[in-house]
């Protein structure tokens, strides 16, 4: 069981309750997973697009939190927007997601996230997120 400090901060009550878990760390980047279950099912035997989006968002915030933690920056994160591209139907399999910070600015960050199931080379969905970072003295 991975017990990095940032996984406690990264998992929101929503993510925990949906069944999203921190799977592993890859080069300082958290990889999240979610097993298929009734509560993430949309049309029969397929993942709901909203649950896929929730997984992508969770991985996006977590990679940013991990980086801010690493460089010692304290900020609360506020969503600006997310654009999700659904590339393939999510089947009755475990899904994974990991984010990458494309640009870390002073006030906002741009993050790309990918979600996949059995083959990381064939993502089922990708997302681009812009996140506002608010510090205490702002």
């Amino acid at each position: 069981m991975v017990t990095e400090h940032s996984d406690i901060e990264a998992l929101t009550p929503y993510a925990r309750s949906l069944g999203i878990a921190l799977e592993r760390w890859e080069d300082g980047t958290p990889v999240f997973s979610i097993g298929f279950s009734d509560i993430i099912e949309g049309r029969p035997a397929h993942m709901h697009g909203g649950a896929t989006g929730g997984l992508l968002e969770t991985a996006g915030y977590a990679v940013l939190r991990a980086e801010l933690d690493r460089i010692g920056r304290v900020a609360s994160l506020k969503p600006i927007n997310i654009t999700v591209q659904y590339l393939a139907a999510g089947r009755e399999l475990t899904s994974y997601a990991r984010g990458r910070i494309t640009k870390l600015g002073r006030r906002s960050a741009n993050i790309t996230v990918e979600a996949w199931q059995d083959d990381p080379a064939r993502p089922i969905a990708t997302a681009v997120m812009n996140v506002m970072m608010v510090t205490e003295n702002q």
Binding site: R43, G49, G50, A51, G54, N81, Y86, A89, R91
Partner: protein, 167 residues
């Protein structure tokens, strides 16, 4: 072809008599929200028009984003808007056919109020043979003061949706 005529009838001129509704969002929503992800979220029917549907996402403690702030996470808002978009498309088509989300964009313009239900209103403003275009908003009681705006594109699925790789 009947669906097509019904669509062209709901332009600026009000039809003399409304087309026979084949898809009723008020009746259909409990079917979709009795199970699966929508059921888990507790989505409820709120309102609808010819080409739009509004659903309610009741406030719930385990759907919070930042624990320190008593505000809904943005994930449930994605799910709410995805579901409302689907219903709006079926209402606009006046038919229930398998569809899949292709692209969904959410702009979070302000946080939802503490312990407030969030309402998701989606409008299918354009249907083509294979795609459906949707815009919408999420609000926490006042539709003129949204918490989020959305844009989405869905694709109609031609084959049996129960078969894997069906899209």
């Amino acid at each position: 072809m009947r669906a097509k005529r019904a669509l062209s009838a709901r332009t600026m001129d009000a039809p003399a008599s409304p087309p026979a509704a084949k898809f009723d969002p008020a009746a259909a929503t409990p079917f979709f929200t009795s199970r699966g992800h929508a059921g888990w979220l507790g989505l409820q029917y709120s309102d609808h028009g010819d080409d739009w549907v509004e659903l309610e996402l009741p406030w719930r403690e385990d759907l919070l984003g930042e624990s320190a702030q008593q505000v809904l996470a943005s994930g449930p808002i994605l799910s709410l808007m995805d579901m409302a978009s689907g219903l709006a498309i079926w209402k606009a088509m006046d038919d229930f056919r398998a569809i899949a989300t292709l692209d969904l964009r959410v702009d979070y313009v302000r946080p939802a109020r503490v312990k407030a239900s969030v309402f998701g209103r989606a409008q299918c403003y354009r249907l083509t043979r294979s795609a459906a275009f949707v815009r919408g908003l999420a609000h926490d009681g006042d539709g003129d003061d949204p918490v989020a705006h959305i844009q989405a594109v869905f694709m109609k699925i031609a084959v049996d949706p129960r078969k894997p790789h069906g899209d």
